[in-house]
Symmetry: C2
């Protein structure tokens, strides 16, 4: 049996059989952040002994077995929309854009899991592996299991009831097709949170988006040209809606679906257009996908560096072929130099659940030697890396979107998104993403009701990307939620009231910018996911294992956004004391609180007792590009502390130390203290008038 | 390139690479019906030349390519519930009990398809192959495709719209995991119908159930014991409902889910019970599954002949291990000798779409050397063969149910069923089953409304198995459709009227028995599926390609059962003339007819003009066991013909020629003639008073 080889601080590798040449680690696109890993608590011994694993090869591929017990909570496997706790489940880690059931299929499946016992396991494969988390008992366990079942004397009277009566097995099994071997990476804790941090830092550390990326995004109607976009910006300005990122499809997918990467005549002077946007403090994000139309200037050259099969009727560039990568990056360099601040990389996954098999098949062949299955597992990653490299070479940070991802993706500043739209799945997906070094954008598209619209937006503003994506509607959904009437230009009744609620949510996002930016800095430096499940911080508290509709943001916030129809909300607050973000009301942790009499304006958001929270001051001038005034909000009665990260917000200078961490402390006796000033020009710290949220203390200035 | 080897009349085999040892043909459980194949139209040349196929192996397995063109209609792939025409689709042929989308997953996927061009292709694999039917274009086709697309100048405004704009590729691709080779069997036509017949006869010929199997079935509440069953039979007799097959779970899955194959104390004397049923002209079908509880008398002996992993917490017998087969068959021999007439073989598939992975995993290992994936592809088949062999050895025909099947299953007298329940999918599944030598039972369980109940029953009586399956309700659904109220014993209002409609449908089934039995005899002798899609008989008529809610029964019937909510029904009648089964009204073929003013009693059922239809006479004495009086119904004005098959209805004597085919002819001038008498004692032919259905001719005696 293999013995563990230390690879990085607290990370060991087991090698079983002969691993394939193409794997997430073998083709990794970012280096491990070894320097930053050194800051983690040292762990001297691998949490697994060689004998803990078993491995065998068979005609079908290979089978790896890791220990598991029924008292263990297993989480992860990438963007899982339909389940949170994975113990007892089978997951087929296949890249798919329409996971219609809890199968494991995902835009971004990852063969990585973490356990409440405080370790993580990455199975380094670019195959559609199936994982069985304690699903099956071995034949030897027959008698023992029969004794457990003796109590069951009545027949089940529904299929569900019959199928529910099962026991946990004692293994996590990875069933890996095609491969004759695999490397397994074990990440030590000692805590679950530390294991995730090691995985993120081993991936290269979490991304740090430019500050503008954390502001509010809007994607207008796909038919809009320059004039329509201009009118829209005017309208947002008039309504005081603080949007700062514009997402566009520049007409390059218009003629049909493959992409030319050439702006259409709807935008006659793209560079001037981008410049105009920037002068109004907007950034531009372009919607694209990788499958190239013959009208693209690089089509002819890239053809021989593409798959042998078309995808979406276009050429499928092989990002692992240096020439394809160079050509594709070249087109993006041109765009970035022309003022584009980010991209939305669409269609880089696959689908087995709709009638049209639009992406390349698993049996496609690529010049680099990868087959279609391996390429699906790595395509989103390589696509991100190709685009990301362009920005890095330009010395410009970006924040973008991507529809597929995989293992070791944390350093890429891309958030995942989905064409699916269930609000509860969007929340669960965002929360689960944190286990595997991903971000997820629960964007707002349309809504079934005003309540649905407002609730979805309240979730979006408390997520990695605050985006409204109205590509199929000419007006914003707060103008008219009905799609047909929206297209007909009919404003809905009461739209004015809805705009107020929309503004309130978007402003909350703006106010939270210093907190969010600091949370991402922690992600970058220490590997702590800025949006994460409650169980990450408190795995010892079993009540957090099922919390898949509420989550932590940064060090001190807990969000439990409402969904349409929720008139009463149960929120579980972990051990310790918490305060309502808006009212300062104190709530005891370690128990479930029932929120009732909820209004459309309510957003359940809680602050850990003893926190100094740096919030951007609500300002009329949020449409401007100047620094944000940061006021400090104190949640506590005796003492409180917090921190504020800052840098230039745009470049990679922070990686060379050009940044600041300002520690903020407050005591009832001594008042507020800050250990220095934020660097750069993003934040103006106003220490003079902290807002005290101390329950019976003076009321806050907030609604 | 491989050259075709003739295997059977009109059947050729291509061998590519080194095929696996375990495959449907290699492990076939019935011999080809070579004698009967000789009766087919001879075809001298293989419809495919070696160069038509391409084949390659790769690390993932192997890839086989067959020609396809966009004008070709491809059908088949086993029990497909969500689509009919497969051209343009990708299908993943994985064994699954809950296909939630049109993915190819199925209780009974089969790597066999037929083309409207008049040939069939069986890819002989026991792997979860993916089939791409003209889904993709090769990279070379880029420019050509771009020219086709030039007309598309507007962006798509919905995901569906974007994904719909695709072209057909020119290949059918089988992507087969793990294997280094595969045999391909090509079935000549010249017509599509002939290709299906060759496949069915190559499988061993279609099954011929005992006559009782075609009568009406009822499965009562799972908690019922002998007393409750007795009361139920009394009630059916009182209401005049002609049920003759009782389906039971004899309490052997009661303690928990694995099966002991031992009757529980609810049935203290099983043999006496079975005898009592038979004396009342009922037959007994027992619900079971293969995964064994340790309480089973054979558990200890069979353990070392079972999988290394439990399924449903029970032992998984390896049916390809002769000792497991012997032990398992032994238990069934005991039951059959004790009066059991058939079985319902449950849970022999798998599921990836529910949260509990209850069946054995793909990586399970079996003593016979098969792995779990291969075993899933073959388990339903081997289970059927094991049980079927017992009946054959006892010289007793049976008609049973099974939840999973595969290739070459036609000779096994089992109908498939599903826990899914969409009425349109049940119809489509029944119709699609015919392409691959399967039967499907669209059973009635519960209903959302009285209309839903009646419509579902009207479908069931026009299907391979006419079954009401109320295992989770103590009373029949016509007593109370609401599940809760049914369990509470509350009779619904108007139940009396509903019983009349139920009786009418069940009586229709009884009247059709001679037609159905004859249709199955054709299935056995000539391979013509008794229930089949319109396209099978008229592939040249493109309008039939989309007919997935109406179908042919035997030689002369066309059924288009109604579903709840259908107040108006469009029915397409193929070329030729047709008559309404009930009224004799003449309808021109080659066009769509709109039926309106539909009442709950209406059942759209049509007879080919010029048919003499042998129908069992409606009789009060249908609860008895005597022969059925057959009256002849003439649909036509000048001349008509028909036939009636008969044998002893119970044994295998018919295979030795102990049976009769009675040809029936009628002319307006000469009246009715029959060329002999039906053998056996099943039918009493009454030639004296034929019923003439000739439109303006004397009205029929039917409602």
């Amino acid at each position: 049996m293999s013995s563990p080889e230390p690879i990085a601080p607290g990370v060991w590798r087991y090698r079983f059989g002969t691993p394939e040449e193409a794997s997430p680690v073998a083709l990794r696109q970012a280096d491990p952040a070894l320097d930053r890993m050194a800051g983690l608590l040292p762990v001297d011994e691998c949490p697994f002994a060689g004998a803990d694993f078993s491995f065998r090869t068979e005609r079908r591929g290979c089978v790896l077995t890791a220990p598991f017990d029924a008292e263990e909570g297993v989480f992860g496997f990438g963007l899982q929309l339909q389940s949170h706790l994975q113990s007892g489940k089978k997951k087929h880690l296949r890249v798919n854009s329409d996971p219609v059931a809890d199968t494991g299929d995902s835009h971004a499946p990852v063969p990585f899991y973490v356990s409440t016992r405080g370790y993580g396991v990455l199975v380094d494969t670019a195959r559609y592996a199936s994982v069985y988390v304690g699903t099956h008992l071995s034949a030897e366990a027959l008698k023992e299991r029969a004794e457990q079942r003796l109590g069951q004397q009545q027949p089940g009277l529904s299929t569900e009831e019959i199928y529910r009566r099962h026991a946990f097995g004692r293994e996590v099994v990875f069933d890996i097709p095609a491969a004759a071997g695999v490397d397994v990476y074990v990440f030590a804790g000692p805590t679950m949170r530390d294991a995730i941090r090691r995985y993120v830092l081993f991936s290269g550390g979490g991304c740090l988006p430019p500050l503008w990326g954390l502001k509010n995004w809007y994607r207008p109607f796909a038919k809009d040209g320059e004039a329509e976009v201009g009118a829209l910006l005017e309208e947002f300005a008039k309504d005081g809606l603080p949007f700062h990122v514009l997402g566009l499809e520049p007409g390059w997918q218009t003629r049909s679906y493959p992409n030319s990467l050439v702006w259409s005549e709807r935008f006659p002077d793209p560079e001037a257009f981008a410049g105009k946007l920037r002068s109004r403090h907007w950034r531009l994000n372009l919607w694209e996908h990788a499958f190239l139309d013959p009208a693209s200037p690089i089509a002819e050259e890239i053809a021989s560096h593409s798959a042998d099969t078309l995808g979406m009727d276009g050429l499928v560039p092989d990002f692992f072929d240096p020439e394809a990568e160079r050509l594709f990056a070249g087109e993006h360099r041109r765009l970035v130099k022309g003022g584009v601040a980010g991209f939305k990389l669409d269609e880089c996954d696959n689908s087995d659940f709709i009638s049209y098999s639009w992406s390349f098949p698993e049996h496609a062949r690529f010049p680099s030697g990868l087959d279609g299955e391996q390429m699906h597992c790595l395509y989103g990653l390589a696509y991100q890396a190709t685009v990301d490299r362009v920005f890095r070479e330009e010395g410009q940070r970006h924040y973008s979107l991507v529809r597929s991802s995989g293992a070791l993706a944390a350093p890429f500043p891309f958030a995942l998104y989905s064409d699916l739209y269930a609000h509860d799945e969007f929340l669960r997906g965002m929360i689960n993403s944190g286990f595997s070094g991903h971000l997820f954008a629960p964007e707002v598209r349309h809504a079934a009701s005003v309540e649905d619209l407002v609730r979805r937006l309240q979730t979006a503003v408390l997520s990695p990307v605050s985006q409204v994506n109205c590509w199929y509607m000419p007006h914003a959904p707060w103008f008219q939620i009905d799609r047909q009437l929206n297209q007909a230009g009919v404003k809905m009744e009461g739209a004015g009231e809805v705009v107020k609620l929309v503004k309130q949510a978007l402003e909350l996002r703006m106010r939270l910018l210093p907190v969010l930016y600091t949370a991402f800095a922690h992600y970058h430096r220490e590997g702590v996911p800025p949006f994460r499940a409650l169980v990450v911080d408190t795995p010892e508290d079993r009540r957090t294992w099922s919390c898949d509709q509420q989550y932590l943001i940064g060090q001190s916030l807990l969000a439990a956004p409402l969904k349409a129809g929720e008139r009463v909300k149960e929120v579980y607050l972990p051990q310790g004391a918490w305060r309502d973000f808006f009212t300062g009301k104190r709530l005891e942790g370690g128990r479930t609180h029932t929120l009732s009499d909820l209004s459309l304006a309510d957003i359940p958001l809680f602050v850990r007792e003893g926190t100094v929270l740096p919030l951007a001051e609500s300002a009329e001038g949020w449409s401007g590009g100047g620094p944000l005034t940061v006021r400090l909000h104190v949640y506590g009665e005796e003492k409180a502390e917090g921190e504020l990260y800052a840098d230039d917000g745009e470049t990679f200078a922070f990686e060379r130390g050009d940044c600041s961490w300002t520690r903020l402390t407050w005591t009832a006796a001594g008042g507020l203290k800050a250990d220095g000033c934020p660097s750069g020009e993003m934040f103006l710290l106003d220490l003079a008038n902290p807002v005290l949220h101390a329950g019976a203390a003076p009321a806050s200035d907030l609604p």
